[in-house]
């Protein structure tokens, strides 16, 4: 690395000496001057990173010198040393000298070193900027220069052609055509268009056949582009053509090449090499793009053609270069785009403000629309929400700089989210963006939930079965003994009634145990059977009496008992769920009404069960969701969010439906409708 040069101008040798002491050991070269003329001379001859000038120089002020430096060496950062802080001096220094820093005398060593370092940084930045600028505009300038050169030729020729106006006009229009050609070139976006333009441009040479363009694309594949009738066809070249950089007329190797490529003889050929800077360096003799023509030009027309094409060669080459670069860039980014769009999981790149930088097609809620929605936040697009999704690990991932996992909900779907922090710019020292990958786990989660639920039921069933059987033994004794006693005690007195009560209670216990065993039975050994909803309700009630105990219950069962075809233990679970929900909806003691009726409509007869509570009611915005799996408003651990979804599935399985009507603050009514199925008399 070259050392940065610093010029220090001061007429006081002591000051220069202390500056030298200060810079000792620093990676800078100090050049000093005591007078303005010497300093000017140095500025003209050498490149300085920083120029420090004292305001009080003899014969010229520091500001004057810095103004001179600004003109002659604009990249150097300028520092003015001054003893006084007069406003007028400062103003002048800023306006005329574009001073980077002021340093007042006497200076603080530490501060001065910081200022010098900053000035060098500033200088480097300027150099980088200007070289970048140069690079960016170099191609444009080349075209501009060409254009302006041509314009100049136009003017010059116009002057010299005063003698012959016709000749002048011909030349003028010739040059204008050239200018127009260059402009046309700049509007092209594909190699096909380029080939079309070349054909059009050469229309006047009747003896030329359609052009063939051979070039090498970014991955080094040789490609040829040619006319097939009016269509332009592009295909991989069968072999490499001669890439020598001079124009060739009727050369054997070109004839052989074209004959091999197209499978027919070529008699006379023209090969016009195009230099491609993006592929071959300037110095190289190779021209990886070549324009071929088959022709029947008479000898006297070859020269005019060559001069015609020569004038257009450089702009053609530049245009081809630009087009191929653009095509390559486009295809590369298209490859990535289709890669992402091909992935079925939503993927998005977002910044620290949750703004979308990129997203694939499956990220937006309507994958068919394909519209890209940037400058919006990811949560807005994904869920329509104005705040980040609950459970999204983006923030955590950005903070920690490590991949994080989370889980979010999008409507009724559940997604596992992985956030991978990334740096979009290699110069960033920490993560600036996050790649979010979403995996829909709704189905597997539901399955898992159901598995747990059915495992729970199985465990409860086993337990209930054991307890029921254990109870059966003493119950046998109680009931049987009561029956024996009933036969033995005298009719008179209250004893007989009492014993009868015992017998009845034992009988009831026996029923409860039977129901419990039925209820907890696994699905495996159950069958659909004809049973009335009334019977289902009667069988279920003993099991939820505890929950209902705080509330008043009103039971009204239909007089007739039409049968429905169901698996009784599943329907019992439905009734159990509905009544249990009703109880939980009432924080204060309320009324729970259970009633059954029979309805008839066009679809036949329905057996209907209503479970009505006077609880808090269900808000309108969530009533749509209550049958969704895992939707729960209960405290964690209180509910699985599966009760209603399972109930709905069960009811639908038996051809019925489950409906809900609710008013906030008044209560909720669930209605179960099942088709009546009468036993057929054989």
């Amino acid at each position: 690395m070259t050392e940065h040069k610093i010029l220090w101008v001061d007429d006081d040798p002591d000051v220069l000496q202390s500056a030298e002491r200060l810079f000792r050991g620093k990676p800078w070269t100090l050049v000093t001057a005591t007078t303005a003329p010497v300093a000017r001379d140095l500025i003209l001859r050498e490149n300085f990173a920083v120029i420090v000038a004292d305001q009080g120089l003899q014969a010229a002020s520091g500001v004057d010198l810095l103004e001179f430096a600004k003109e002659k060496s604009p990249a150097a950062s300028r520092i003015l040393l001054t003893g006084s802080v007069e406003l007028s001096v400062l103003e002048e220094a800023v306006n005329r000298g574009h001073v980077f820093r002021f340093v007042s005398k006497p200076w603080e060593n530490e501060q001065l070193l910081v200022d010098i370092s900053k000035a060098i940084e500033h200088h480097q930045l300027k150099i980088t900027q200007s070289s970048l600028l140069k690079e960016v505009s170099s191609q444009n300038r080349q075209l501009e220069r060409l254009t302006s050169g041509l314009e100049q030729i136009v003017t010059e020729r116009t002057i010299t052609a005063e003698d012959s106006k016709i000749e002048a006009e011909a030349k003028l229009s010739h040059v204008r055509e050239l200018v127009r050609f260059i402009k046309d070139l700049s509007n092209l976006t594909s190699a096909e268009e380029l080939l079309n333009l070349i054909r059009k441009e050469l229309k006047s040479f009747h003896e030329l056949r359609a052009p063939v363009l051979a070039y090498v694309v970014a991955d080094r594949t040789p490609v040829i582009l040619f006319f097939q009738g009016k269509q332009i066809v592009e295909r991989e070249a069968r072999q490499m053509w001669s890439t020598r950089s001079r124009m060739r007329i009727n050369e054997h190797e070109d004839r052989v090449y074209l004959a091999n490529e197209f499978g027919r003889p070529f008699v006379k050929t023209l090969a016009i090499p195009l230099k491609r800077r993006a592929v071959a360096p300037d110095s190289s003799d190779e021209a990886p793009a070549t324009l071929f023509f088959e022709h029947a030009l008479p000898d006297d027309k070859i020269d005019p053609f060559l001069s015609f094409i020569s004038e257009r060669l450089q702009p053609l080459s530049i245009a081809l270069d630009r087009i191929l670069l653009e095509v390559h860039l486009k295809s590369t980014s298209l490859q990535w785009e289709s890669t992402f769009d091909g992935i079925k999981d939503p993927i998005a790149i977002v910044d620290i403000d949750y703004q979308l930088v990129r997203a694939n097609r499956h990220f937006s809620r309507d994958p068919a629309s394909g519209s890209r929605i940037f400058e919006l936040t990811c949560h807005k697009v994904l869920t329509g929400s104005d705040t980040p999704c609950r459970g999204c690990p983006i923030e955590d991932a950005l903070k920690s700089g490590e991949a994080r996992k989370g889980q979010i909900k999008r409507g009724s779907r559940v997604y596992d989210v992985s956030s991978y922090p990334i740096r979009l710019e290699p110069t960033d020292d920490k993560a600036t963006n996050v790649i979010n990958h979403y995996v829909d786990v709704t189905a597997s989660r539901e399955l898992h939930g159901r598995m747990i639920q059915s495992e729970k039921m199985a465990a409860v069933g086993l337990l209930a079965g054991n307890i029921a059987h254990e109870l059966n033994n003493p119950l046998t004794g109680i009931r049987s003994l009561a029956q024996v006693l009933l036969a033995e005690v005298p009719e008179a007195g209250t004893l007989k009634d009492d014993v009868r009560e015992v017998e009845k209670a034992a009988e009831r216990s026996q029923k409860i145990i039977e129901n419990l065993l039925d209820f907890s039975k696994g699905e495996a050994d159950t069958k659909q059977m004809l049973i009335s909803l009334n019977e289902i309700v009667r069988r279920t009630l003993p099991m939820i009496k505890t929950a209902m105990r705080e509330h008043r219950s009103e039971m009204s069962l239909a007089d007739d008992e039409p049968t429905v075809k169901v698996e009784p233990h599943l329907m019992q679970q439905v009734v159990f769920n509905l009544v249990n929900n009703a109880c939980q909806a009432m924080k204060d003691p309320g009324t729970i009404a259970i009633d059954t009726t029979t309805e008839s409509d066009g679809g036949g007869r329905w057996s209907v069960l209503h479970v009505t509570d006077t609880g808090v009611g269900i808000p309108e915005d969530i009533i749509e969701s209550i049958f969704e799996p895992f939707f729960t408003t209960k405290e964690k651990g209180q509910g699985t969010g599966l009760g209603l979804s399972m109930s709905q599935q069960v009811v639908q399985k038996f051809g019925g439906e489950i409906l809900v009507r609710s008013a906030v603050g008044e209560g909720t009514r669930f209605t179960v409708r099942l088709p009546v199925v009468e036993e057929r008399l054989s």
């Binding site: 119950l475 046998t476 033995e488």
Partner: protein, 122 residues
């Protein structure tokens, strides 16, 4: 007729016992399978009420033990169980019993009649 009740549940023994005694039958009881075996061998009952699950010797084990020893015995065995899913008439008969009754009984006197009927058909 002579009744033997083998059951570890005292109330079952008591209720069955009283129901049969009330009908004038002779009743003896055993609190488990081991005692059941001894009583059975010494008293040669006409009807044996046999519970399935008992401490010590279970009902089926007791049957296996006792039947080969009493080849000329003409009595009948009624097997009882609270685990109704476990056994039924068929499995009970395979083990050498004549009847299977799930617990709890709906009507103890109906059971007594059944036993008398069984004894009559002997």
């Amino acid at each position: 007729m002579k009744i033997l009740i083998v059951d570890d549940e005292p109330l079952v023994r008591k209720s069955l016992g009283r129901a049969f005694k009330a009908r004038g039958h002779e009743v003896s009881e055993a609190v488990d399978g081991t005692e059941g075996l001894a009583r059975w061998l010494e008293s040669t009952p006409d009807i044996v009420f046999l519970d399935v699950l008992m401490p010590g010797l279970s009902g089926p084990e007791l049957l296996k033990e006792v039947l080969p020893r009493l080849r000329d015995w003409k009595g009948r065995v009624i097997m009882m169980s609270a685990y109704s899913g476990e056994h039924n008439v068929t499995t009970a008969q395979q083990m050498g019993a004549d009847l299977f009754v799930p617990k709890p009984f709906d009507d103890i006197f109906a059971l007594v009649s059944k036993a008398e009927e069984l004894f009559g058909r002997r």
